[in-house]
């Protein structure tokens, strides 16, 4: 055995350094472990300052001893490579290990050990831990808002039905695959719309929207006889004109009588709330903002200067202002611009505002995809004799959208995370309900539990979405 130089661990004295180093490291680990889990201070005899830094110093010396390059022991080399490359890294690693060790016991005890789960009143929550009873008691409010308890099956049923209808794509046979796009872009949103507004809302609202349906069907039928040159403008204007015409001038009184069917009780949108409202708003905004954004992305690259400038103005305006002022606008400013007797529901205004806002972001993302495509794609499509719409629908957009899946997913994530902002117009989704619940005099002082609960829910939703978008990206990745 050669002479040992303690300042320079080397391979020749591998065993001594290894045992000594791991022992010191183990001592420091044990010290922190005992300290945090059993509140035993091994080094209590030392001055408090030394005792505080004891594990760090000892652990550091230990790691220094076992930092031997090419020791020939696989695990040791891996360890050195990953957490112990130099002095600085060793200290950081130690600090992180200690922080984790120190934070486990308080978190565990707050979440589980000292927490109270049982009972249904505040009295059981006397410990130092979390009061999950509070969440349990308020669960219905957090999920459904002020929606009447007896009617909540309507929300559940609608969501289950929509989820089932949404999963049709997985079971479709090859024969029906080609209709899937049509189904998801047109039919599914329409069904969802019907479900939410006729089933969850209930009541005579039904026939208010039946005008819209009649107008849409009529205008599509007439649309077949319109020369294709004017079709775009036709569909831009005529359906809305027909709707207004039907609603205000033709058989208004007669149908309103029919609408008062003895069906489901009407629940006004002000009573909707909780997590279900988060879902409803996110769902509709996702559906609406995508086509609007696509239209403006195409408009921004259009050959007509007017359309281009309108699109640029639209996009830059919405991107420049915060969502909260947009919601303010929809709440206090927008009604000023409408005829006095024309009332749009608060929730609908909210959905329109958020959709327009997010559409601007979607537009910029899609524009990035459009710009990333090589010119050859456009030219090839044109040389095949395709027109503007045909070229975009069959050649450009499928490739461009594939490129921007991550960007769109990010925008959608931002949208879901933005839904709590609707508190501005007085709608209470889950965060709003939490704020309401924590001011209830019987349940004061449980703000922390509520926010942790909501944070976990949102985290799961957002994390799942980001993972799903990653899978989608991998699935549609084509080498070009």
């Amino acid at each position: 055995m050669s002479k040992i130089n303690f300042f320079k661990p080397d391979k020749s004295n591998l065993n001594i350094f290894l045992y000594l180093g791991s022992f010191l490291f183990f001592v420091s680990f044990l010290d922190v472990l005992l300290n945090s889990f059993f509140s035993v201070n091994l080094t209590g005899f030392l001055p408090s300052f030394l005792s505080y830094f004891f594990p760090l110093i000892v652990g550091f010396i230990g790691l220094y001893f076992i930092r031997i390059e090419l020791s020939g022991i696989k695990q040791l080399d891996l360890l050195n490579k990953h957490i112990n490359t130099n002095n600085f890294n060793a200290i950081l690693s130690l600090l992180i290990i200690f922080i984790i060790l120190k934070s486990i016991p308080p978190i565990l005890s707050w979440f589980f050990i000292d927490a109270s789960f049982a009972g249904d009143s505040k009295d059981v929550c006397s410990g130092t831990g979390a009061c999950w009873t509070y969440i349990k008691v308020w669960m219905r409010r957090f999920m459904y808002g002020m929606y009447p308890n007896g009617e909540q099956w309507r929300i559940n049923l609608s969501f289950i039905a929509l989820a089932l209808l949404g999963s049709v794509g997985y079971f479709a046979t090859d024969k029906f695959k080609k209709y899937l796009t049509l189904y998801y872009v047109v039919i599914y949103p329409f069904i969802a719309f019907l479900f939410i507004f006729f089933f969850i809302s209930g009541g005579p609202v039904f026939f208010d929207f039946s005008y819209g349906i009649i107008a849409a069907i009529l205008s599509i039928i007439i649309g077949f006889f319109i020369p294709s040159k004017f079709k775009f403008y036709y569909f831009l204007i005529v359906p809305f004109a027909l709707y207004v015409l039907l609603k205000y001038f033709i058989f208004y009184e007669e149908l309103i009588e029919l609408g008062k069917l003895d069906g489901l009780n009407w629940v006004e949108t002000g009573a909707w709330g909780g997590l279900s409202l988060t879902f409803i708003i996110s769902f509709f905004c996702l559906i609406f903002c995508f086509p609007i954004g696509m239209a403006f992305a195409l408009g921004r690259r259009s050959g007509f200067p007017l359309i281009r400038y309108i699109s640029i103005g639209f996009i830059e305006f919405w991107r420049g202002v915060p969502l909260i002022t947009v919601l303010f606008m929809s709440a206090v400013m927008f009604p000023m611009f409408l005829p006095a007797d024309f009332f749009i529901d608060k929730l609908v205004r909210c959905i329109i505002a958020i959709s327009l806002f997010e559409a601007a972001y979607v537009a910029e993302v899609i524009r990035g995809g459009l710009q990333a495509l090589p010119r050859g794609q456009y030219e090839a499509a044109k040389s095949l004799g395709m027109g503007y719409w045909r070229m975009h629908i069959f050649v450009i957009l499928p490739q461009a959208l594939k490129l921007v899946i991550p960007g769109i997913a990010n925008t959608f994530l931002a949208l879901v995370k933005d839904t709590p902002l609707i508190f501005v117009v007085g709608l209470l989704e889950i965060v709003g309900m939490l704020n309401l619940a924590k001011t209830n005099p019987e349940w004061l002082g449980f703000a922390m539990e509520g926010y942790v609960f909501a944070a976990i829910i949102f985290w799961i939703i957002c994390y799942a979405m980001s993972k799903y978008s990653y899978n989608l990206e991998q699935k549609y990745k084509t080498d070009r």
């Binding site: 309108i310 002022t325 409408l338 006095a340 994530l413 965060v431 957002c462």
Partner: protein, 371 residues
Amino acid sequence: MTVIAVVLVFGFFTYNAQVNMENRGIDFGYGFLSQESSFDVQFSLIEYDGSHSYFRAYLVGLLNTILVSVIGIIIATILGVIVGIARLSPNYLINKFAAFYVEFFRNIPLLLQIFFWYFAALRALPLPQDAEAMFGIAFLTIKGLYVPAFIWQNFNIFFYSIVAAIIAIIVIRYQAKKLQETQGKQTPVLLVSIGLILVLPLISFLIGGVRLSFEVPVLKQLATTSFIYEGGVSLPPELIALALSLSLYTATFIAECVRAGIQGIGKGQKEAAASIGLTPNQVLKLVVMPQALRIIIPPTTNQYLNLTKNSSLAAAIAYPDLVLVFAGTALMQTGKAIEIVSITMFTYLSLSIAISLFMNWYNNKIAIQEK
């Protein structure tokens, strides 16, 4: 045809607006800005009370918005750069720790985080009378953070000394760059800069007659159970919660930008730099960072813009920013919805444009100069 449609839509809206305003007895105009506002604001950077005009209230809100945005941007940048570099660390633990931080804070809505800090975390702080002093001078209590105020004598001399130091640093940097480009010599610019910015103000203290004293906040009893700190500077808990959550949230996005930027530099660049004998620090400073910045800056600009816009969430916890003071209180009092909301939106638009112009200028400056 499109023109006609646009004109018709706008005409329709304007007509309705006129009718509605007539019905409610509101007249359109910005004259109200000079009227007396007669409401109070809790926290303001400039002198303000109810006797000042609405325009002054607007300024108070705007300054508060800018204050919280600037604080947030500074903290978020520092934290984001550290976490972004940490995510690329070869150290497994640091890497995972940074990844955990990013995934955790990125996937929780900002509003929820603000509420959490304001209503849950900061409410757990001690009352003013129970607060323990930090370093003997600052007090973190449920009513906010109280720090000592600086009381300067001959502040202008101190200010000039700092300006002189900054000018000297710019000149030295310029010379050092020139020296490096012509002769390849490296000068310790950072050390010299730190030295200058410390020494020059120190000289101003020694011979310039500058005096600095601290006004430490002192506990004062208002009633039997009501205590308050007097003197010093008090930062309200709203500001702390808002700045904290904004910077923690935005830092995750900046970290991702930084990571993407550094990863975007080819391995060959680093190896080439190392093979001509540069030390790891020099590789980072002279080769990787200048190139990575080009990738990092555009998305980071977006994050700064987002942070500024997100600072409007202050309205949720009653931090008196532009939205709360102007689009909230002032709108309630005057009822001039169109004017106030349009001013607010226009302000945010201008702020956004100002930030993006500045960052575009900076981006152009460091972009590749094509020959």
